[in-house]
């Protein structure tokens, strides 16, 4: 792949849950080595976009190309090859609850490599050290605090040294110090391991600190994509609301409002 080719290339992506349309014609591109932050109000479709980027959902319309693979057309073998090159840390961590932290981190190595037990143990402990969880490998996920879950999930996501890392809400619900540490970690991963990183976040400070570029999503549409400076300077009212923590003006459509109140349930 030449350096100029995007790692992620999404064109005119539509997504539905049932009949509800969640994403409207989303175009989205990320270049190698970039840290892209996706911002947007709660429910704007950030996690849904992410689910498409990691191939958990197939596009309803439009195309998603990740590391040169078309997610909609890829067969099982191609998807597997792609997934080995991706790391994903979910919004809730999604550690396997029946396994210890160490086993969780070692799981991708066990399943995808033929390394011997010793090597696997050392490699997974190394990654735990990277996320400042050294020595915690024997705890069960239920014994971890929220911040530790996020860091353990990150360790599992990077254990195969992925080319591309997705991180949903790294700092939600964490104290400022831990969340700042996670930001440092993300920067370190990009600089030391040359990963391309896509981060979904609500936290303005953290977004501005780590982002090379920011995409703002609003009600399933991309409002703007650009460098963090240019997005901050945008004239778009919704973006300014988001950046200055202003409550949204409520526009009332009387007919729609009445219909919602009186509609019969199916």
């Amino acid at each position: 792949m030449s350096a100029a080719e995007p790692v992620i290339e999404v064109r005119q992506l539509d997504a539905f849950y049932g009949r509800r349309r969640i994403l409207h014609g989303v175009d989205f591109q990320v270049m190698p080595g970039e840290i892209r932050v996706i911002m947007g109000a709660s429910g704007s479709g950030k996690s849904t976009l992410l689910r498409h980027l990691i191939g958990l959902q197939r596009p309803h319309a439009g195309s998603v190309r990740i590391l040169g693979t078309d997610v909609a057309k890829a067969g099982p073998a191609e998807m597997l090859a792609l997934r080995r090159r991706l790391g994903v840390s979910f919004q809730g961590g999604a550690l396997i609850t029946s396994m210890s932290v160490g086993e969780n981190v070692a799981l991708p190595l066990r399943e995808h490599t033929r390394l011997d037990e010793n090597t696997i143990r050392i490699m997974s402990r190394l990654k735990l050290e990277v996320v400042n969880l050294g020595g915690f490998q024997d705890l069960m996920p239920s014994q971890l605090s929220g911040g530790m879950v996020k860091r353990a999930a990150l360790a599992r996501a990077i254990v195969m040294d992925p080319k591309l890392l997705f991180f949903d809400e790294p700092s939600a619900g964490l104290d400022p110090v831990v969340s700042a540490e996670l930001d440092e970690l993300i920067l370190k991963l990009r600089d030391a391991l040359r990963m391309t990183i896509v981060v979904v976040t609500h936290e303005l400070d953290s977004a501005l600190k780590i982002a090379d570029t920011i995409t703002v999503l609003d009600q399933g549409r991309i409002l703007e994509t650009g460098s963090s400076v240019s997005v901050q300077a945008s004239n778009n009212e919704r973006i300014q609301d988001l950046f200055h923590r202003r409550p949204r003006p409520v526009d009332v459509d009387v007919d729609e409002y009445l219909r919602r109140l009186t509609q019969e349930e199916l």
Partner: protein, 265 residues
């Protein structure tokens, strides 16, 4: 919406959901078997360690309860047959009645119902809570096929352990019957058992064992597919667990009836 229309709509939705559920379970079966046989070629090997762990949970851990309950059922059958056949002075037929009904019917049915309650529910609960907490998604994006990792080991373990447990149940039930019937028939328990063994034909044993294989498939598919279908948080997991038990026991009993009909005509 009028009441009649609502009823029709619900009925239609139920039927569609039912057919979809059957299709899904069928696909699960095919995929699990496929991964077990040929998964290693596409980097989705079904690990022996995972199957062994499932075999322990499904089979070994169930040995005491299966043994105890089938012994009790055997005892009960002995009492009933002695009472019923004694009325006709046909006590000598008790041995035959116990031997055939246990090996063809009761051994496998007791085992099936117990394992549906124990393991069918635990498949549904485990996989259901994993779906809810996105662990199933996480497996998927790590390139670990959830069907291969969660469903295939469960199916293989059940296919091995349910027949084994059925044999155990047969033995224990006949022992239970011997304990009560031998004194009544004025023979020693050893003689009772030897006579039973002489009476039994391979066909009787095979009937029970072939049913146990079908039960294993039914219990696993119902448990696993309700687990994967869970939505709606912890409450959803609870509902799925209950549904898995009710559906799998119903499926077992209906399948048993159909089997008995065709095998004993």
């Amino acid at each position: 919406m009028s009441l009649a229309l609502q009823l029709v709509w619900r009925l239609g939705k139920r039927s569609v959901d039912g057919v979809r559920g059957l299709g899904y379970a069928g696909a699960l079966l095919v995929e699990s078997l496929w991964f077990s046989v040929a998964g290693f070629r596409s980097g989705q090997t079904v690990r022996f360690a995972a199957v062994a762990e499932q075999m322990r949970q499904v089979g070994v851990d169930a040995v005491p309860i299966v043994a105890l309950l089938s012994f009790t059922v055997g005892l009960m059958l002995g009492i009933q047959f002695v009472a019923a056949l004694g009325d006709f002075g046909a006590e000598s037929q008790v041995l035959m009645a116990v031997a055939k009904s246990v090996t063809r019917e009761f051994g496998v049915l007791i085992t099936g119902i117990l394992i549906a309650g124990r393991s069918g529910s635990s498949f549904a609960a485990r996989i259901g809570s994993m779906s809810v907490s996105q662990e199933v998604d996480a497996l998927g994006v790590m390139g670990i096929d959830p069907v291969r990792y969660l469903a295939a080991p469960a199916l293989l373990a059940m296919l091995v352990m349910l027949p084994v447990l059925t044999i155990l149940a047969n033995v224990m039930a006949i022992l239970g019957a011997a304990l009560y019937c031998a004194p009544v028939l004025d023979i020693s328990p050893t003689v009772y058992i030897v006579q039973t063994l002489n009476l039994l034909e391979p066909g009787d044993i095979w009937q029970g064992l072939s049913k146990s294989v079908v039960f294993a498939v039914l219990i696993t598919l119902v448990g696993v597919s309700t687990g994967f279908g869970v939505s709606g948080g912890a409450e959803g997991v609870g509902r799925a667990t209950t549904r898995a038990v009710v559906y799998s026991i119903s499926a077992i009993i209906v399948a048993d009836m159909i089997f008995s009909f065709f095998l004993n005509r």
